[in-house]
């Protein structure tokens, strides 16, 4: 595989990771996932709705078997304890599945990550043998602590979850990228394809998103756009952009051999 994304020792061809929430139905979810080219897709763990018809379709049945690496998350958890319990249940549910996305929230309005609870949960989960991809703020000190604990990927926010505000602090992301030895993926805040491309141009190893696709007017088309945005950004990063020149233009065409007007 050329230029694979390597997470917890496994290679992936796609650097776009996508969520499965907020779609109209499972058919649209499956179609968007297909258009995105993603190989890793997140799922949430929730209580069985005891009132519902037990024959109602199930997300896991709606996705082609074996095609995707599932990434169970702890979305909605506000304490380390709840996050750890959720992922233990996920591991059991998905047959000893180890790759997980840890996210512990600190505020129901902003959904900003609760970093001290996140650190606590990461510690426990790594000890229990989970491969932890961790959602966090763009604080480089916390990112380093999470890496030191043994998380297999650091996933700072670009802006608030579901906000579509794009990359608000590329400088902090850059600080995290420069210090990290494990993959850094932008998780949350991407709104459109250029945001994904910017994340990749900064040197991120990947981008994780949900609402930017599911909340688009045409989610399938946006899934495809995101696939191209991530690819374009990655290619540009690898190509190495030209240096920026302040205050001086530089012509693209030869300066010599210009016709001149007769005097």
């Amino acid at each position: 595989m050329q230029d694979p994304l390597i997470i917890a020792g496994r290679e992936y061809g796609s650097r776009l990771l996508v969520g499965t929430g907020k779609y109209r139905d499972f058919a649209q979810t499956a179609e968007a996932l297909d258009a995105s080219g993603a190989e890793i897709v997140t799922v949430a763990i929730r209580r069985v709705n005891l009132g519902q018809n037990p024959d109602e379709p199930n997300l896991l049945d709606a996705l082609p078997k074996g095609r995707y690496t599932l990434l169970p998350n702890t979305a909605g958890c506000y304490t380390a304890d709840d996050a750890v319990r959720t992922l233990r249940l996920a591991r059991e549910l998905l047959d000893d599945h180890r790759l997980v996305k840890l996210e512990v929230l600190g505020d129901p309005t902003s959904l900003f990550p609760h970093v001290t609870e996140t650190l606590k949960a990461a510690e426990t989960l790594v000890k229990e043998g989970f491969d932890v991809m961790v959602y966090t703020s763009d604080d480089p000190i916390v990112a380093r602590q999470l890496e030191d604990i043994g998380c297999c990927a650091i996933m700072p926010l670009a802006s608030l979850i579901g906000s579509g505000m794009g990359i608000l602090n590329p400088w902090n992301l850059q600080l995290i990228l420069e210090q990290s030895k494990v993959p850094v993926l932008v998780d949350a805040g991407v709104g459109t394809a250029s945001d994904a491309a910017i994340a990749m141009e900064l040197g991120c190893q990947g981008v994780l998103m949900n609402t930017a696709i599911a909340g688009a007017q045409d989610p399938i088309r946006m899934a495809h756009a995101m696939r191209l945005g991530v690819q374009a950004g990655r290619e540009a990063y690898l190509a190495g952009r030209m240096p920026k020149k302040l205050y001086h233009g530089s012509p693209s065409s030869p300066s010599a051999g210009l016709i001149t007007s007769c005097k």
Binding site: R47, L93, L208
Partner: protein, 67 residues
């Protein structure tokens, strides 16, 4: 009859049953679910051996769409 708390709600079961029995009682046999009993995971391999007791707190979960 035994009294349990299932997914945060009090529930009366008509008779003593195992975790597998509870899943069948809820018409969920064969569905992908996971069970936590009093804070501990009950592995699938033990669903038909683990008997529920009065006062048990159970969580029964599935995977759903999410980011």
């Amino acid at each position: 009859m035994i009294q349990i708390v299932l997914n945060g709600e009090a529930k009366t079961l008509p008779a003593a049953m195992t975790c597998a029995g509870l899943i069948a009682h809820l018409s969920l046999t064969g569905k992908r679910v996971a069970i936590e009993r009093n804070g501990d995971i009950v592995p699938k391999s033990r669903h038909d051996q683990e008997w529920l007791a009065d006062g048990d707190r159970l969580e029964l979960v599935v995977a759903v769409g999410g980011g």
